[in-house]
Every structure is written in C-alpha cells, then in structure tokens.
C-alpha cells in the first residue's frame, strides 16, 4: 500500500514509516493444553509481529517415570508400559522392547512369529501415519480428510483388535514370541481392509494433496536440511523427507524385512509437504508389506509362534493343572519371570517416528538395572526452534503436526 504523501511528512517511503514505529517483542504462551497441540507440550514463543523470533519448548507434562517403573518390576512387567509410550503404534514399542530382551537372552524367535510381528508392526505404522496426516488436516481446519483418515484408522484398530483383543494398548508381543497366532478369519478380513484403506487413501489424496490451502500452508514451511537432521540425530520420515534414505528396516534389517519387497520413499527439500508425501507413500508401502505377510503366513501354515525355551515360555495350561513341575514353572514365570543374563545391549527398530531404541542393562536377576527408551519423538522435537526461526506463528501448527510428537513417548 502506498503511503499518502502529506506536505511536510517525515516519511518518504513505506520503509521509513515502519522504521520509526516503536515495536517490541511479545511473549506468547501456547499450551500445555491447546487444541492445536495434540499432546501436552508448552511453547514459549517470542514474537516480532507475527514472526517467531525465539521458541522454547517445554516438554515433560506427561512424564510418568517409565524407566523408574521398569527398573522396579520384572522384565515381563515392562511390556505393558511400552504400550503406553506411543499410543498410536503400541505394537512397535512392544516389538522393540521384546527384541532387545531377546538379544540379551540370545533367543531366536520362530519364523511364523517374525512374520506376525512384521504384520502387526506395519498395521501400527499405518495407524500412526493416518493419525499424523489426519490430525494435521484437522488442525489446518479441514474436517473431511480427517474423517477419511480416522475411518481408515478405526479399521486398522479393528484388525489389531481381531489380532490381540485390544485396540490401542495391545500388549501383544511376548519375550520370545507373540501372545497367540492369527485369529480365524483374520486374513480374509485383512484383505478387505487393505482394499478399503486404499480407497480411503485415494479419497484423502483427492481432497488434500493438491488442495490450494493445504499446499500453501505446507510448502516451504518447517524446512530442515539433511545436514541439520544428522546434527540433531533426527530420524524417520523427517530425515527421509530431507533426502537421506535411512530406514532401519533396509539398513539393518531385523525380523524378516530383508525377505520383503518394499520401497523407501524420500523427499527433496525437507519441508512439511515432503513429510506429508513421504508419510502417505509409506502407508502404501506398509499395505504392500501386510499383503506379503498374509500370503507368507498362509504359505507357512500352522506352527509355533513362541520359542520352546522354558526360561520365557509359560507351560501349557493343561499340564499346569496336572503336573507338579509345570505348576512350579508357572508359579516362577508369573512371580518373577525370566532371569536375563548379566550384560547390556542396544537394539533399535524403525518406528513410525524414527529410530526407536532400547538400551537394556541386566545384572543377571529378574529385575532390570536399566531400561532406556531412545524416544524418536523427543529427539525429533529438539530442532523445532531452528526449523521455525523467522517463520510465521501459523507455521508452527503444521510443523508440529508433521514432527508428530507423541507425548507418551516424548515424556515417558
């Protein structure tokens, strides 16, 4: 807007006019309970007009003492706590923890169990990405795509419920196996689910991907370079959207990921739009993996889903009621669980948010000395002030959504 030129005005141009305004920075407190931060986190924002000058992120509102609780129970009692880390994809944390304990115990799980674990992990990953993309739309004031996403997530959770009886806090994976194999009718139902989810993703894509408002809010916001990602140890879709194809399922294949055919999508510029595209493509890849798991499990036929190792395997109920030895073993398994040999080990899996690692230390007793969870949510959140310096306050919302900080995992 051109400035009106009054005779004798000291301002010769728009710039002069703004220079003489006595402005000051404003402190804005956002959270810890705010509709656009799904999760309890507090932002202390220093604003110059609408631009972010400084950002202090205060986490910890959901701190439950995960590690302290784990260090005062048995190894088995840790598994339900891992459910409550990332409540969108509980099974991924289950798998990570149980595989880390198996590493210390030196246990190799049966092939059938490994395929079931991959199947359950990928369903969890889909649920997580659907929440991320759906909630981001909701917080950008688009209700319709959110409902498409949530319908697909409900279907995903229905199938997790078929698998293990719980929708969110699954507690499905056991040390040395899984709770039980696939339930009757699961495979057919899951194939129908895959077809329906692809339709819903198509609907989601139609409404969102080239939507003018959505694109404008996402392109060029929350940019982080590949080098900054590495400096901050950022992993997962954020790192991949910045162009680094690091996916532990490919780089350090665990379970049976090396036998599965899937691609790792990467982005170019590392902005929120790239993160969105990477997440959507990862969901399609996960659906492919689920299809391959179903086919493979049918081909494998019935078989054991738990190791026969008596240290971790509970005896069959029929024998517990009739045999003294099994009764004693049952009693010992329930009251103290496995004794893990003294030592330490770190095992990382690719969770929906990035590298989810467990560093365990055992002194040979039934109680862990240390259960460290390397939380991708927390570590991915740390560079957020750098991603938003100078950006508009409104850019904070999609950036935070696509970082996908999950309070339970971030604060533990």
């Amino acid at each position: 807007m051109a400035l009106l030129q009054f005779p004798g005005s000291p301002y010769q141009s728009d710039d002069d006019f703004e220079r003489d305004l006595h402005t000051e920075h404003q402190l804005l407190n956002m959270g810890p309970s705010h509709p656009a931060t799904h999760g309890t986190v507090k932002f202390l924002i220093e604003l110059d007009g609408e631009n972010i000058v400084n950002l202090d992120i205060q986490v910890g509102y959901l701190h439950r003492g995960f590690e302290k609780e784990c260090e005062s129970g048995t190894w088995y009692q840790c598994i339900p706590y891992t459910d409550r880390l990332n409540y969108n994809s509980a099974i991924l944390a289950n798998v990570g923890f149980c595989m880390a304990v198996e590493k210390l115990l030196g246990i190799e799980t049966p092939e059938r169990c490994q395929w079931i674990r991959v199947l359950a992990s990928e369903l969890s990953r889909i649920a997580d990405h659907l929440t991320r993309c759906g909630a981001a739309c909701l917080e950008l004031q688009a209700m319709t795509p959110f409902l498409y996403g949530i319908e697909a997530r409900e279907l995903t959770w229905d199938h997790l419920e078929m698998l293990c009886g719980a929708r969110v806090t699954s507690n499905y994976i056991r040390i040395g196996g899984v709770k039980h194999g696939l339930t009757p009718g699961f495979a057919d139902s899951c194939r129908a689910y895959i077809a329906r989810t692809r339709e819903l993703l198509k609907d989601f894509d139609d409404v969102v991907t080239s939507n003018r408002i959505f694109v404008d809010r996402l392109v060029g916001t929350g940019v982080i370079s590949r080098e900054d990602c590495i400096r901050y140890a950022v992993t997962g879709p954020i790192l991949r959207s910045a162009g680094e194809p690091l996916d532990l399922r490919k780089q350090q294949p665990y379970l049976v990921y090396d036998e599965i055919d899937f691609d790792v999508p990467i982005g170019e510029v590392g902005d929120n739009y790239d993160r969105y595209l990477v997440c959507v493509e990862e969901m399609h890849q996960s659906l492919r993996i689920v299809e391959q798991c179903l086919a493979k499990l049918e081909q494998l036929g019935p078989g054991p889903v738990n190791v026969a190792d008596p240290r971790v395997r509970w005896p069959a109920k029929g024998r517990v009621f009739n045999h003294m030895e099994e009764l004693i073993q049952q009693f010992k398994s329930v009251t103290e669980g496995p004794r893990v040999p003294a030592g330490e080990g770190y095992l990382a899996i690719e969770s929906a948010n990035g590298e989810l690692g467990f560093y365990l230390v055992s002194d040979g007793s039934a109680v862990p000395v240390k259960v460290r969870c390397r939380p991708p949510s927390l570590i991915n959140l740390a560079p957020m002030p750098d991603m938003l310096k100078g950006a508009l306050l409104a850019d904070l919302i999609p950036t935070f959504d696509f970082i996908n900080m999950i309070g339970g995992e971030c604060d533990r």
């Binding site: 590495i230 400096r231 140890a233 080990g345 000395v369 240390k370």
Partner: protein, 162 residues
Amino acid sequence: MESFGSAALARLQQDLPEALRETHAQHGDATAVVEPARILDVLRLLRDDPQCAFDVLSDVTAVDYLPRRPRFEVVYHLYSIRSNQRVRIKAPVEEADAHLASAVPLYASANWMEREVFDLYGIRFDGHPDLRRLLLYDEFDGHPLRKDYPKERRQPLVGPRN
C-alpha cells in the same frame, strides 16, 4: 554382525590408547569404556576420522550402578550413516561432584539428551549452553532415576509461578 563397529574400536586403540579403559563386543555391540576426562577427544576422533565418520549421536543416557564405584556411567550410542555401524562409548562418573564435559559442541543432538541425564541423574555437563531440567520442573527435589531415590517418594506441591 561380528565386525559391528569393531573398526572404530581398532581406530581408538591405535590413536587414543591412553584414553581407553577397556573394550568389548558383547552381543555384537562394539563398546569402549573411556577415561571421562578424555570423552570429547574420543567423540571428536570418532566423528571426524574419515574411516569412522560417526556422524549421528543417537542416544545419550546414564546408568546408576550403586553401590559400585565409580557409581555412574554415561552411555553414548553413535551411528555412522556411511558405514551403517554403531558403537557405544561409556564414561564412568564418580558420585561426588558428578560432572562430565558436554558433547554439544560436537553434536547438536546432545543438547536435550544431556539435559535429560542432568534432570534424572544429576550429572552436570560442563560447557552445556542451557543446562536446565528437561522433563521435570525446576522445583523438583532430587534426581528420580538414581537408585537411592525411592519410587514412592512424594514431592512438595508447587504453586503457580507468576
């Protein structure tokens, strides 16, 4: 998995033998216990040496081995994108005046993770740009992941700060 990170350990033995206390590769995880005073030299070598190139500091945590002495161990997990290897570096820390040099000048990711270790174990990191509690609040009394902090202990109520 045999050679996991062992090239890095060989490199450390060759270049900084006096900074190493012991090494092992239990369960295939290459591990080095180093002199706490030399931690930054070790990390710098692992990061900058072109053969190692451990460019990602994945994790920093601590373990309380009460009643052993030295009581604490600060544990670093490094990952190299180029060679796809991990290595674990451990620095023992005494209980009295528990402190260690901060790795923030080398790795930006150390910032929040060292704040967390300070918060939960009370180990100070010298040279850290912003050593505040991360998960707990400023008025919290004690460091809850220490083994002598009872799980049932209550904290005093804190009123609003402004």
